[in-house]
Amino acid sequence: MNVYASIRYGLITVVLIVLQTTFIRFISIESITPDILVVWIVYLALRYGQIHATVAGFILGFIVDIISGDFLGLYALSKTVCGFVAGYSYDENRTTQTLATYRFALIVLLASIVHNVIYFTIFVQGSELPFWRTLGLFGVTTSLYTSALSLLPIFGYSRAKGDRVLPR
């Protein structure tokens, strides 16, 4: 990744953090909000591989930790592992096919579930919150919403590349 690309990705990251922390509540449904940062981490994983996604996951998670005001390190950990797991889907010969098809949404779903499992496993410690109920009510629904939202960049990417969303 060259300097200009790094700056461009940095700016996109800032915009996405602003969107996640300020605007995303406008599309919340019953307190469930999608995590567009997970979508971004998965995108980076598919474009640049596991190391980039792991580093990006940590940086994004750390920033969100600071903004969210409590339990510093929890998002950093969740998003680091999320990036690492998403990185397994990296295949430089099939980047376009993956990004422009429903496979991207499936990878987002998987990465988001991994993220939420780690997040809630630590989050419910020391409380009486039931893990499975909390994961089901908030983790899985958030993952599904995030995955559904990831269909939008698929359509955008697919149109830009002139490909079909579904395999021929």
């Binding site: 602003v18 922390t21 300020t22 605007f23 509540r25 406008f26 599309i27 919340s28 449904i29 307190s31 909000t33 596991q50 190391i51 792991t54 580093v55 996951g57 940590f58 998670g61 750390f62 969100v64 930790d65 600071i66 903004i67 969210s68 005001g69 409590d70 339990f71 510093l72 390190g73 929890l74 950093a76 950990l77 680091t80 592992v81 690492f84 990185g87 939420n116 997040y119 809630f120 630590i122 989050f123 409380s127 009486e128 919150l129 039931p130 109920r133 909390t134 009510l137 908030f138 983790g139 958030t142």
Partner: protein, 275 residues
């Protein structure tokens, strides 16, 4: 040495993952660090400015629901206003008779909710008051309907508040009618749960729940909500009590910060003894 570098290069993905996992876990262990408080103060200020600039935008999914709630609240408030006028007249008469002075126990600092963060189970609100308005962490947040939460962090002009519907929120609460004490917490969903109430104690649906005053943070007798359901599980010593919150967080716009800080001497003593 060369062999070590070769191994690191071969498994560099895993080394990077391990490094960041260790850093993340270290951060989790440093949650009360002063430097981190400084960074948070800065980011809360920036976030507050951003959220203030978009606070006029409505949530389209909740607009209809919000309108209905507002209409219902309007009718209820009109009714309540008449009752309050009557009560105030009666109160004034009694005060005159007793020669008491009408005094407010705490200063109330008005604040506008300029942002709501709904991120998994960490629900917080951002308000347009901060250190320059004498707002400090630990101060309770209320509305005319009851308890909202407490101040979590502040910057010059903004404050971040932890609301009842936050996983980390706890408050000592009691049933107003029978004076039964418990601890109120939120476990997701629309209701809070009153815990540690034995099956033998007197709690009924419709009972008003208020702050108990045992807490060092919240003054006594602030309304929290009403008991919505009481169930008893076989094999448990305690009742399961669900509380309907008095404050509607979906339509929360104006709040008051109570200028009441936890008693530091009491906190120090409790920390010293109970640690």
């Amino acid at each position: 040495m060369r062999r070590l570098f070769y191994i690191v290069r071969l498994f560099k993905e895993y080394f990077i993952l391990a490094l960041f996992v260790i850093v993340s876990i270290s951060l989790m262990a440093q949650n009360d660090n002063r430097q981190i408080h400084g960074i948070r103060t800065l980011t809360i200020g920036l976030l507050g400015k951003m959220q203030e600039s978009v606070s006029f935008l409505p949530n389209f999914f909740h607009l209809q629901e919000e309108n209905e709630a507002l209409r219902r609240a309007n009718v209820n408030l009109a009714d309540e206003l008449n009752q309050l006028r009557e009560a105030k007249l009666e109160n004034m008469r009694l005060h005159r008779l007793l020669g008491l002075r009408e005094t407010a126990k705490y200063d109330l600092i008005p604040a506008k909710v300029i942002g709501k963060t709904l991120y998994l189970l960490r629900n917080t609100i951002t308000m347009n008051v901060g250190e320059k308005d004498r707002v400090a962490p630990g101060m309770p947040i209320v509305t005319d309907r009851g308890l909202v939460g407490k101040i979590l962090a502040t910057s010059g002009g903004y404050a971040l508040g932890e609301i009842i519907m936050n996983r980390d929120f706890r408050v000592g609460a009691r049933i107003q009618r029978s004076r039964v004490d418990g601890i109120l917490a939120w476990e997701g969903g629309t209701h809070s749960r009153l815990k540690n109430i034995s099956k033998t104690l007197d709690v009924k649906v419709g009972d008003v729940v208020e702050t108990s005053g045992y807490s060092n943070t919240y003054p006594p007798s602030i309304r929290i909500g009403v008991v919505g359901a009481v169930t008893e599980q076989p094999g448990s010593l305690f009742k399961t009590i669900w509380v309907e919150n008095a404050v509607d967080f979906a339509t929360l716009e104006e709040v008051f910060v109570m200028n009441s800080l936890p008693d530091s001497a009491r906190a120090r003593l409790e920390e010293k003894v109970l640690r």
